[in-house]
Each structure stands twice: as C-alpha cells, then as structure tokens.
C-alpha cells in the first residue's frame, strides 16, 4: 500500500473512532464511503494487501450465517480475518471493515478477508477485487422494488464472473438451477455443494418458487425431489441439463433448519477447497453460535424469546418450518416496510402462513401491522393485532418465537436488550 492510501485509512479510522466514542454511530459504512471518495481505487489496494486474499459470499438467503461459519473455521486454524458486519455488505461497508481492522500506520494486518456481498453489489465488487474464492448460495425473489427480478441479477452475476481470472475458484449450489447454471461461465475451478437427503423432500411444493424453468432451454424442469422453494434435485427433460453432482452433500449442521444445512455445506465446501481437513472443520464448528437475529435466543426475565430474521418468502417459509419443528406454539410476526425491509409488502402473500396450526397463538405487529393481520385472516388464523411492539413482545406466556423483517428485528432486539446493537 502506498503512503497516500495509508494516510486515508488512518484519517478515516481516526474520524470513525471519534464518532463512535461520541455515540454518533457505529461507523459500519461511512468511513469506507469517505475513503472511497478520496481514493476511488482504495478497495482493490486494500484487498491486495491481504496475504491470503479475499473470500466473497453472495446469495439472497444465508449470507450472514455462512460468512460466520467460514470465519469461525478460518479463525480456528489461526487465520486473522477481516469481515464485514451484517447488513454492511455494499462496497463502502467492506472498505469500512478494512479501516476498522487497520493499525495506526494504516496497514492491514489480517491474513484473509471474508465478506458477505449484497446481490446488486457483487458485480461491482468483482470489478475491483478478484477473490480467491467466490461462494454463491442461492437466488430467491426478495425486495423486487429494490433488487429487481431474480433472472436479471443472475444475468449480471454471470457477466461479471466471465471476466474473473482463472485463479478464482467458484463454489456453487448445485440444487439451485439458476446458480448451478452460472457454472457454464466460470473461467477457473468450480466446486459444487448440494444436499443428498431424500427424507427431507417436500410432499407439496411451496408457492414461492422462482426458477422451475431450465436456464439453458427455457423448458419446464422436472424435480425428483424439492427441499424448499425451487431448491432440489432438478433435471431438464428437454435439453438434458441437470443438477451437477455435488462434491459435498452431507455434513452435520451446527444449527437447526434445512436452510442451515445448506449454509453449512456451502461453508464446508469452501473450507475444503482451501485444503482444510474434515477433522479440523468439525472441531472448528463445535459450539458454533448463531449470528445476530438468526435463531438467536434471548432470556427476558424468566421468558425465552427466539429470534428468526425472516425477510422474503423463501426465507420466511424456511423459518416457519424450522420453528414448527421446534414445537413453537406462540408466535410474534413483525412486518416493517422501511428501506432495508423493502417498501413493498406484497411478498407476505407468497409466504405459506397456512402451515401454522390453528391452535397456535399468533400476535402481529410492525409498521404494516394491518397488512400482516389481513394476510393472517385470509390464511384462516385469528390473531391479536398489536401495533405497539413492546406490548406485542410481552403478550406471550411460554417460549415466544419472533419472526421479523430486518428493521423490525433491530427494534425487537433493542426492546429486549435495552440498547441498540447495530
């Protein structure tokens, strides 16, 4: 790194430190934003300063948890890691995480960077840094008003991936047809992960599917088994395109839920591509604890509250299925429509709320409480409508399962923990 770059890092680090000590904000994004304004190329310079390179992780669902699993594994073997805070997954958030991890001479002392990347930002990131590993988890419909259509994102990704150097190994989900199809454009090595677990096949497909048509020829795909949404054992009867055979397909997941089995498989596939052994990975994942708002458990007095960030139909269905398997009887569903949640709340009609048994006690809350209450009415549930989130949180007797959108989850945690976390 040159002197000017290091000066910029130190200066933004200093300002950021001042700001956080005066309680002006956590500095997750704006130190990076300032640094980028001063030195537009700083992201690639910072990335090059890492001795072991950069790992990028993208996908609609599971980014934060997967990033945390990868980080846990690499830290276990002694790597020093730079990683971005959940939600700070645009270029400015990633540069901010470098700045936070620099020393006062503006040097980056970490070995490796592990970053979760926003769907829209991935092509931009790939232009400024060629990662050593790129992990693509899945693509589901999510905040169509902000991200646009799933196919359009897949197309942009593929275009950016075509230009990667051969040194980038790309790790792909074989069970998501749209992700697996990107394999045709990868210049370097590829690793596939997928799930071989026929007993988890769905009996009735979910409504919220995005990609049941062949990415090559456009004909309808046939599924020998569906795990959730459009994720499963797919093949095209027309052009013979089919699910690539995954090299990693079984691994004990440290967290409940089928979607976490995928997050684990993805992280393990990545770790193995870095020549880590099974024993090491297993040891690293022993006692793994979940990321913020992802199956996090909070004790409030004598009551237990379990949090499930649920922000799009596929993720919501996965959360619902997991909490039902855990025996949930009391639910709080919180729907907000702020920028991080997506302004359009239409997606709640694609969630299969009908799967909740009629005996469950359900309270709804959030900025769009009447929207979610109406949705529940049409799903056949009688719910308590409680616009006041604090009151909604104290309405339960037993263990409360909270399913909430992003900004709603922040509010829930603030109320339960009495302070702001992010």
């Amino acid at each position: 790194m040159g002197l000017i770059d290091r000066l910029v890092v130190v200066a933004t680090k200093f300002v950021s430190l001042l700001s956080t000590s005066f309680g002006l904000g956590a500095g997750e994004t704006w130190p990076g934003e300032i640094a980028l304004r001063l030195r537009p190329d700083i992201a690639s310079t910072l990335a090059r300063s890492l001795s072991d390179g950069v790992i990028l992780i993208a996908g609609t669902n599971g980014k934060t948890t997967t990033t945390l699993i990868v980080k846990t594994i690499l830290e276990h073997i002694g790597d020093t890691v730079v990683h971005n805070a959940s939600g700070a997954n645009l270029l400015n958030g990633i540069v901010s995480s470098f700045i936070r991890n620099s020393d006062w001479l503006g040097r980056i002392t970490a070995d490796v960077g592990i970053f979760e990347v926003d769907e829209n930002s991935l092509p931009i990131l790939l232009r400024v840094m060629a990662p050593k590993r790129l992990l693509l988890l899945n693509l589901f419909r999510d905040q169509l008003d902000r991200y646009g259509e799933v196919d359009v994102i897949a197309e942009k990704w593929e275009k950016a991936i075509k230009k990667l150097p051969k040194s980038t190994t790309v790790i792909l989900n074989s069970d998501d047809p749209g992700i697996a199809a990107i394999g045709r454009s990868v210049p370097g090595n590829m690793v596939f992960f997928g799930l071989n677990k026929p007993k988890e096949y769905l009996k009735v497909p979910e409504h919220a599917t995005d990609s049941t048509f062949c990415p090559n020829c456009g004909k309808r795909l046939v599924y020998d088994g569906i795990y959730y949404s459009h994720i499963g054992i797919w093949r095209c009867p027309s052009c013979k395109n089919k699910r690539p055979t995954p090299s990693i397909h079984t691994w004990p997941s440290p967290l409940p839920g089928l979607y976490n089995e995928y997050n684990t498989l993805a992280a393990v596939a990545l770790a193995k591509s870095l020549d880590l052994g099974d024993t090491e990975i297993r040891k690293a994942l022993h006692g793994f604890s979940p990321a913020f708002g992802r199956q996090e458990e909070i004790e409030v007095g004598r009551r237990q509250v379990k949090l499930f960030l649920s922000k799009n139909p596929a993720g919501f269905n996965a959360s619902l299925r997991t909490v039902l398997e855990m025996g949930a009887k009391e639910f709080l569903i919180v729907l907000n429509d702020r920028i991080p949640d997506g302004r359009d709340v239409s997606w709640i009609w694609d969630v299969d709320f009908e799967m909740i048994p009629k005996s469950a006690r359900i309270v709804v809350s959030g900025d769009r409480v009447y929207d979610i209450a109406t949705r529940m009415k049409y799903a056949g549930h009688t719910v308590k409508t409680e616009p006041d989130l604090s009151a909604a949180l104290s309405a339960s007797n037993g263990k409360l399962y909270v399913l909430a959108t992003y900004s709603a989850m922040l509010e829930v945690r603030k109320i339960l923990k009495g302070r702001k976390i992010l």
């Binding site: 196919d151 409504h207 239409s346 997606w347 769009r368 009447y370 049409y378």
Partner: protein, 242 residues
C-alpha cells in the same frame, strides 16, 4: 346448492411475482365466508383450453421477463383467444401488472420492435428508455369506473417501467391520488371493460380493496351478503396515511 365459483388462475407458476396469489386467495375466501362453494383452477402452459372454458372468474398477474416470454407464446396462440371470447360474453376478469399490459395491443420496449399483445383490450404500453425512471411506490387512487364502484378509494404498490395508454374502447378505472398510475402523465390508473378490470396496483390488489373482489364475484354469484371488512379497511387506511 349455490353455484360453484371456479376461479381460473392463469399461469400461476409463470405469472405470479408480487404476491399475486393474494388476489386468488381473496376471491376464494370471500366466496367461502359467504357459503358460496369455490375453487381455484390453475391454468398453465400444459392446461387444455377446455378447462379454461369451464371457469367463471379469470385472474392473471405479474411476471418476470423470461417467464412472461414463455407464458406469452402460449397466451397469444391458445389461451388468449378463449379469454377474449369469455370476456365478450361477460366473464369477470382481473389483470394485474404484466398481465394488464399483455391483454393490450402491444408493448413497445425501448429497443427493438413492438411485442404484440393479445389484443383483448384497446390499450398499448411503451417503455420510454433505460434512462426513464421505473414507477415504484405506494399508491392511492379513487375509482371512477365502473359506476357501481365509483368513489371507492383503492390502495396498492406499483412497480413498472412501461407506460400504458388507453384507447377509446377503454374506460380508466381510477383517478390517481398518490403515485403514477398508467403512465405518470394523464392522472389515471387501470382500466375497465365490461366485467373486467386491469391495474398496475399489486399489494396485492384485492385483499386491501375488497369491494373490487366482491364486484368480480357478484358478476357470477349475484347479490352478496356483507362481510366484516374492518381489518381490510384498516390495512387500506394505513396505506392512505403513509
């Protein structure tokens, strides 16, 4: 025994993007709650048009480009002409977003030739270029046609690039109070023709605007008993006060 109301859901696997399912759920539930038997009939690529002919209400929703292309070929060649015939005979129908554009005469993308629509309705849509803003956001409008619904305040969420212009054979559904509506210029939203309605509002449209749902159902089942719509009205009011 009351008549079984069969709700055709056109291309549920292809044209269903913005919570469109909510519209068919609303139709079905609002029949059920009144003791009117009803069922949802999925009509997709492989479905024979003879099945479509047995249905009483038609719904078709939004789509992504690739899916719309797949559905488009089938609709133009096979289902479209049957839908046209049914609409002319008075079958109620609802077309939202991409479907609303698609029942028109054509869609002119910003590059390339116009894409022909099914020509069921007298309207066309133009995409003004990739520099033009997509029309996105919460919306409020007041119904002006059909007369039975006039004065009703409807709410939704719009998200479209194309600008739709109505021909002389069509009546605008509503006057925009907030948002852009058909084209962001003439102040109108949606369209109506005989017993059919088209709109850019998803959200989805029917649950928060139950009067439109009941208007469609009444065309098949006759006069309807009132339902307790307080929750739906609160959801509607919440969008108006955003």
């Amino acid at each position: 025994m009351k008549k079984n109301v069969r709700i055709a859901w056109l291309y549920p696997d292809l044209m269903s993007t913005y919570g469109d399912r909510g519209n068919v759920i609303a139709l079905q539930k609002r029949c059920q709650w009144r003791g009117i038997p009803s069922e949802i009939v999925p009509v997709t690529l492989e479905t024979n048009v003879s099945v479509l002919r047995t249905t009483d209400i038609i719904f078709m929703g939004g789509a992504q480009d690739r899916q719309q292309k797949l559905a488009g070929e089938d609709f133009l060649k096979r289902k479209g002409p049957v839908v046209k015939e049914m609409i002319e005979k008075g079958t109620p129908a609802l077309f939202v977003c991409a479907a609303y554009q698609f029942v028109g005469k054509y869609y002119k993308p910003y590059q390339g030739d116009p894409i022909p629509g099914a020509g069921i309705w007298d309207l066309f849509t133009v995409h003004p270029g990739d520099q033009a803003k997509r029309l996105i956001g919460n919306t409020v409008a007041e119904i002006i046609n059909p007369p039975e619904l006039a004065g009703t305040t409807i709410v939704g969420f719009e998200n479209h690039g194309g600008r739709t212009h109505l021909g002389s054979g069509m009546l605008p559904l509503a006057k925009v109070i907030r948002g852009n509506g058909n084209n962001g210029q003439d102040g109108y939203e949606g369209a109506t023709y005989k017993n059919t309605i088209g709109s850019y509002f998803h959200g989805p449209l029917l649950p928060k605007n139950p009067k439109i749902a009941d208007w469609l159902i009444s065309k098949v089942a006759g006069a309807l008993a009132p339902l307790d719509d307080r929750l739906e009205q609160q959801a509607n009011a919440a969008v108006r006060s955003l």
